[in-house]
């Protein structure tokens, strides 16, 4: 009887034609939410969609995005990191101290800052992975320790101003022409990748999406790229921090999808027992995840310190919560095992849009906390609700 049943099931499965437009409901929901937030703010304030403000918005989202990229890896591996906000503060303090007080030049300052982030990640990751202390506790401790370290090392004073070349990391824009060159290169690469993927899928006997769908996909990507470059160029050009976000997002998307390390962290988050029995070195992988996450926090610290042109005592406060919220809104499951870099970027765009729009409307800051908190809970509620419906 069950053999029969299986054959029937198999027939049903084979008959089912894939629907190429239904590729990812979650992605649509997320983009839909972003669009409605944008439409709402543009109705409430006429300057929200102006090139000046959007340029600001992308600049503002950069720090959260960089943090969220690292946080995705941590959460996918089934861990959490509450310390990155304080690491941003502390490593930003190191950046400013070395540059302002000790007059180090830009490159050594950058290397020292990144090195500090990596070292912190190594220590935290080692305690979590090799000493089996829960990540929640280790990084909660780290949150206090590194905030305290910032106060102690800087003597609780704001350190400013930075040298111009260091400042440019956070404050400069790339010129019109270079912006267009980047945009066109991006478009060509996207086209080549789509063609390569189609060929490869055909070669290995997978279903290939209809040509028209590929073209439509490329059209949408092209429109986004051209629109973005045009918009940015009508103000000052693409902000350098946002270029960093794009580069880091591409690099980490590659890591998460195409490397053994990336595959391993998804497996560890998805089923740690199965990962262990498959011979995956869980401890070493978790250690590396924290090193990467905290190094990215140091990158974010460089951007933030350069943009503010100063290291302040409150720099980075609560940023870990923004980053976690961005990941979760972007579809990363706190249970581990699922999540994408692209989703986290869109999530941080949602968070930054809320911040930006509400500041633009001169809403008092308490509203910003309440609204952001509400949106986070709502996003997760909708996600869990839709999953339950799918199961039933």
């Amino acid at each position: 009887m069950s053999v029969n049943q299986e054959t029937v099931l198999e027939h049903a499965r084979l008959k089912q034609r894939p629907n190429w437009f239904k590729f990812d409901m979650r992605a649509y929901t997320m983009i839909g939410a972003l669009m409605s937030i944008w439409i709402l703010f543009s109705l409430l304030h006429d300057r929200f969609l102006s090139p000046t403000n959007l340029s600001n918005l992308f600049l503002q989202m950069s720090v959260t995005s960089i943090l969220a990229i690292g946080m995705v890896l941590v959460i996918v591996a089934g861990q959490i990191d509450l310390s990155i906000g304080s690491i941003v503060g502390f490593t930003g303090g190191i950046t400013a101290m070395l540059n302002v007080w000790y007059e180090w030049s830009t490159v050594p300052v950058i290397l020292a800052t990144l090195g500090a982030g990596a070292a912190i990640g190594f220590v935290q990751g080692w305690i979590i992975a090799y000493r089996a202390v829960p990540a929640f506790i280790v990084t909660l401790g780290g949150m206090l320790i590194f905030r305290g370290a910032l106060f102690g090392t800087t003597g609780s004073v704001t350190i400013a101003p930075l040298t111009p070349s260091l400042k440019s990391i956070g404050q400069s824009y790339i010129g019109d022409v270079i912006g267009w060159v980047f945009g066109i290169i991006g478009l060509i690469v996207a086209g080549l990748l789509i063609i390569r993927k189609r060929r490869a899928r055909a070669k290995f006997g997978f279903e290939v999406e209809p040509f028209a769908v590929s073209m439509l996909r490329l059209g949408v990507i092209g429109a986004l790229i051209i629109g973005f470059v045009y918009l940015m160029n009508s103000y000052k050009g693409i902000p350098v921090p946002f270029v960093m976000v794009i580069v880091l997002a591409l690099v980490f998307t590659f890591i998460s999808r195409n490397t053994t390390f990336g595959r391993h962290i998804y497996a560890i988050g998805g089923n740690p027992e199965a990962a262990r029995l498959s011979g995956i070195n869980i401890k070493r992988r978790i250690l590396l995840v924290f090193v990467l996450c905290n190094t990215l926090a140091a990158v974010a610290a460089l951007v933030l310190t350069a943009r503010l042109n100063a290291a302040t005592m409150s720099a980075g406060q609560n940023y870990e919560l923004d980053a976690i919220a961005a990941c979760v809104i972007g579809g990363t499951s706190l249970m581990g095992g699922t999540g994408t870099i692209a989703g986290a970027i869109i999530g941080s765009l949602v968070m930054a849009s809320l911040d930006n729009g509400m500041s633009l409307m001169n809403l008092e800051s308490f509203w910003q906390y309440i609204v952001k908190g509400g949106i986070l809970v709502l996003a997760v509620y909708l996600d869990i609700y839709s999953r339950q419906k799918k199961k039933a």
């Binding site: 070669k203 053994t260 390390f261 595959r263 497996a267 089923n271 262990r276 029995l277």
Partner: protein
């Protein structure tokens, strides 16, 4: 207070054999695709110790779950009659109120709480939410004495007591709930011989006082020491109920295994090559009780092109043995392991995989698969580095190997991009097999490879095993299904309570011989 006392000895009830404490009439319980209980009738007389015997999977636990209300009324067919009154249990609480108390193999005590708190868990005497501790500890003392725990202080932390005493506390807890029908499911699995003796004495004492007991155990010597009546289940059916005087251990075993061996197993003729894996004087320490060994000085070998079957009852140590060999068991091991004549140290799974071991575990969802990932990612998981030069995955090679196992193992799925969580049990098992075949193992260990799989998929898995054997792979197969072991293995090793109790050639092995060795035989 009085109502909590043990029921007094009622002479006429004990004297009258017609008085049934429990009647389960025509119980049928179906799961999707399986009939776990088929018209089972089970009658327990008042004041007797009634043993329930059967192989793993015969339906004993299912029957007890029906009785204890875990499977609510309506999810099965048939009637439950207690003291002449039909009962419909919708939840466990209903059964408890009717006086049915079940004590499971795994103890359900909160180890950090005091003995007294555990006894009164869920029914602490309190007024306006404030606990009356004096009453808790005073009454605890009474129930502890009932089960012979005179020297235990009710304020003591439960975790500091030995397993045997914790078992007695479970029984005291059941009594304190007014239980007059006590069910003990494999109560002695974790006990030492001395503790077993204490437990049996307590039960003898209860019997004199008219408490009815259902005793489930694989250990026939205990059954014969304590039981008045034995009911044997096989394949979800009642084989019969017999007074203990009419039975011998051999008789019970043959009633338990009873069925004829059908030609369902495509065994290859034995053609063993040289020894691949040799294990000498191998022991594994219990990680929770360092004084106990879960595996005690094993010595065996496996040859190329041979299937070594491992038989034993649940909890005998079969899984612990193979998990330990694979470097995946928490307890430390002692002894020598050689692969191809070379001594190896298998300290973790990576080392084991490198030396050519592969383990298909008994719980594929917990240990075998990442259910949210697709087939090709699961298949490549244990050998990812071989298709990822420089740490970058070659997706094409991955797809090719995925497709290879999809077709060679005949996995029924749309493509290698199908998420494994959506596959049927048999197909999931084949994905796990594919994962380990991709590592090119010398020794493939299969722990319950056909559990929860339909007959057609089972046959396919047997064929895959045969093909591997003909390619010179050595296979170790653990199975609770004796016909499968007898039908597929070339040699069968039997484990009972962490000890090696038998090694049979396929030709000389019978179900009775294996069962006798697995139940400890007359060894104790």
């Amino acid at each position: 207070m009085n109502s909590r006392m043990l029921p007094p000895l009622l002479i006429d009830e004990v004297a009258n054999p017609m008085t049934a404490a429990l009647e389960m009439r025509n119980i049928t319980k179906r799961f999707p695709g399986v009939t776990a209980l088929d018209n089972v009738t089970f009658t327990v007389k008042k004041g007797e110790v009634h043993a329930l015997c059967g192989e793993n999977g015969a339906g004993k636990s299912t029957l007890m779950k029906v009785l204890s209300g875990l499977y609510p009324h309506g999810s099965y067919e048939g009637q439950i009659v207690i003291d002449g009154e039909e009962k419909k249990f919708h939840q466990i609480k209903d059964a408890e109120q009717a006086g049915v108390a079940i004590i499971y193999q795994e103890l359900a005590l909160a180890k950090d709480l005091s003995v007294g708190e555990n006894l009164f868990l869920g029914k602490v005497p309190a007024k306006w939410g404030i606990i009356n501790w004096e009453q808790v500890f005073h009454e605890s003392g009474h129930w502890l004495r009932e089960v012979g725990l005179v020297d235990v202080n009710p304020e003591q932390e439960t975790g500091t007591l030995g397993i045997g005493k914790q078992q007695q506390i479970e029984i005291a807890k059941a009594l304190s709930k007014n239980a007059n029908l006590l069910i003990l499911d494999e109560p002695t699995a974790a006990l030492t011989e001395q503790e077993v003796e204490i437990l049996l004495n307590i039960l003898q004492d209860f019997k004199k006082r008219g408490v009815t007991c259902i005793y489930i155990s694989h250990k026939l010597n205990e059954v014969f020491a304590i039981a008045d009546t034995v009911t044997v289940l096989r394949d979800g059916q009642t084989i019969g109920t017999y007074p203990i005087g009419e039975l011998t251990e051999d008789k019970v075993i043959s009633l338990m295994v009873g069925r004829e061996l059908k030609e369902r197993f495509p065994r290859m003729p034995s053609n063993p090559g040289e020894v691949v894996l040799r294990v000498s004087d191998y022991s594994v320490i219990n990680p929770n009780q360092p004084s106990k060994k879960v595996i005690d000085s094993f010595s065996f070998d496996v040859r190329r092109g041979e299937i070594l079957g491992i038989a034993g009852l649940m909890g005998a140590g079969r899984t612990e043995l193979v998990m330990s060999l694979f470097g995946a068991y928490a307890g430390k091991s002692q002894g020598k392991v050689e692969i191809d004549g070379k001594p190896v140290k298998l300290s973790d799974t990576r080392a084991a995989i490198r030396e050519g071991l592969a383990l298909v575990s008994e719980d594929r969802k917990k240990y075998g698969l990442v259910l949210g990932m697709d087939i090709k990612s699961n298949v490549s998981m244990a050998s990812l580095s071989s298709i990822a030069p420089g740490g970058v995955i070659n997706h094409y090679k991955e797809a090719v190997s995925g497709n290879h196992y999809l077709s060679s193992l005949r996995i029924k799925a749309n493509s290698v991009e199908t998420v494994v969580g959506t596959l049927s049990g048999g197909n999931q098992q084949k994905v796990v097999l594919g994962k380990w075949l991709m590592t090119n193992p010398k020794v493939l260990i299969l722990d319950e490879p056909t559990r929860g799989i339909d007959v057609g998929a089972k046959f396919e898995i047997y064929n895959i095993m045969n093909e591997l054997v003909s390619q010179g792979v050595a296979i170790i197969m653990i199975s609770s299904e004796l016909p499968e072991l007898l039908g597929m293995s070339h040699r069968i090793m039997v484990i009972a309570e962490g000890k090696q109790t038998g090694m049979f050639q396929a030709e000389e092995a019978t179900q009775e011989l294996i069962m006798a060795a697995a139940t400890g035989g007359n060894r104790i």
